[in-house]
């Protein structure tokens, strides 16, 4: 078990495995998202109150879930890198940030578009929306901090600390709708027990969520591979790996 993990921590080995896994996740993502979008936009019944307007949920909810999931991943990778001094973990954390920021932006944008007709406003400063906006700035801060420090090791350590401290925001976002009176509704998914959504609508949402997860896996592996190559650019295995293609 431990030797397997240690082996995975070595950049050439990780590079090989990631190269092999990426297309699987990529194709799975494409299939799931295409099927999910078709099902969500054409097959799923309309909502009793919002009619067709509810269908933006098929992008909004998976994006919002992923924005939190990716942050936790990034912070975990950063913590592993900080504690065990594994550079590969830092590379993975760095690869996560722009993807997480994109999903956060997508969640905020789709939410805003939905909110204008449904709530009657583009934006309100309630606890859920504000904490999700803070998440976007955490991602930006993480990326800016990395970019601002030239020395790779120092950039790794400083940004890892920021990522770990920012984890505090994740439970605040998740439970903001339960702890405070917010305009944003409580969670439809991820409640223990029965979800508050009709099964005919829910199945497509779960499909989109799985598709987004696979998409994230494919993109983060690709980005991490590029990051690993960049960091090991003057080592022999990199030349061999690139020539062997």
């Amino acid at each position: 078990m431990w030797t397997w993990i240690h082996k995975l921590g070595s950049p050439p080995h990780f590079y090989r495995i990631a190269t092999r896994l990426t297309p699987w996740f990529g194709w799975a993502a494409l299939l799931l998202i295409v099927a999910g979008i078709y099902g969500g936009l054409y097959v799923a019944p309309t909502d009793y109150q919002q009619l067709d307007g509810f269908r933006i949920i098929y992008v909004h909810v998976p994006s919002a879930s992923l924005s939190l999931f990716i942050y936790v991943n990034m912070a975990l990778a950063a913590a592993v890198g900080l504690v065990w001094r594994i550079k590969l973990a830092h590379a993975i954390a760095a690869a996560c940030a722009p993807i997480g920021a994109s999903f956060t932006f997508l969640a905020l944008a789709t939410g805003s578009i939905w909110a204008k007709p449904m709530w009657g406003t583009w934006w309100v400063w309630d606890a859920r929306l504000t904490s999700e906006l803070v998440l976007l700035f955490l991602y930006f801060g993480y990326m800016a901090l990395r970019a601002a420090i030239d020395d790779e090791n120092r950039a790794d350590r400083a940004s890892a600390l920021l990522a770990i401290i920012g984890v505090i925001n994740v439970p605040i976002i998740k439970y903001s709708v339960d702890w405070w009176n917010t305009l944003h509704q409580p969670a439809t998914l991820s409640k223990l027990g029965k979800p508050s959504m009709d099964p005919d609508m829910l199945i497509w949402l779960l499909m989109m969520l799985a598709g987004f997860m696979c998409f994230f896996a494919a993109v983060v592996l690709t980005r991490a591979r590029a990051e690993v190559l960049l960091r090991a650019r003057d080592q022999r295995w990199v030349r061999q790996a690139l020539e062997g293609r």
Binding site: G120, I165, W180, L183, Q185, S196
Partner: protein, 145 residues
């Protein structure tokens, strides 16, 4: 203790400390994070006097009264305990209807009604097709009679 255990401990302590700090901070600011007050809180005089605030509740069935030829609309908000009458002039959101959760932003007037300049519809977390809602209503109506 190995160096990496020390680092692990340090990260754990930082997170525990930050978590505690944030908890106390948020508890202290609880009043300001509340997006709206319920009609019961309004009746108990909790909202700051002479300041604008938000009140949230359900629109009482049959209370919506539109002034003909004008945008002005009167309705009553309830949390099933207390009620607040609201006056609003403007465009209502799509989801505004009787029985719907609504959040109004404005201030109390002398006569005890709430003068709103913004009305937002609060949506709940339930999603279902119209047929399901109809059958739910029938079951519900059947059990009441």
């Amino acid at each position: 203790m190995k160096a990496r255990h020390q680092r692990l401990m340090a990260i754990g302590l930082v997170l525990v400390g930050l978590g505690l700090g944030t908890t106390f901070l948020l508890r202290a600011m609880n009043e300001n994070i509340l997006f709206y007050y319920s009609p019961s809180q309004v009746a108990a005089g909790e909202p700051p006097e002479g300041r604008r605030f938000r009140v949230g509740g359900l629109v009482v069935n049959g209370s919506v009264d539109r002034v003909p030829g004008d945008l002005e609309v009167h309705f009553v908000l309830t949390d099933n305990a207390k009620t607040v009458p609201v006056v609003y002039s403007g465009i209502l959101p799509d989801l505004f209807r009787e029985g719907q959760g609504i959040i109004a932003h404005g201030e109390m007037t002398q006569d005890g009604s709430f003068r709103a300049d913004e009305v937002l519809a609060k949506h709940d977390e339930n999603y279902m097709p119209p047929e399901v809602e109809d059958s739910l209503k029938q079951v519900h109506g059947g059990s009441e009679t």
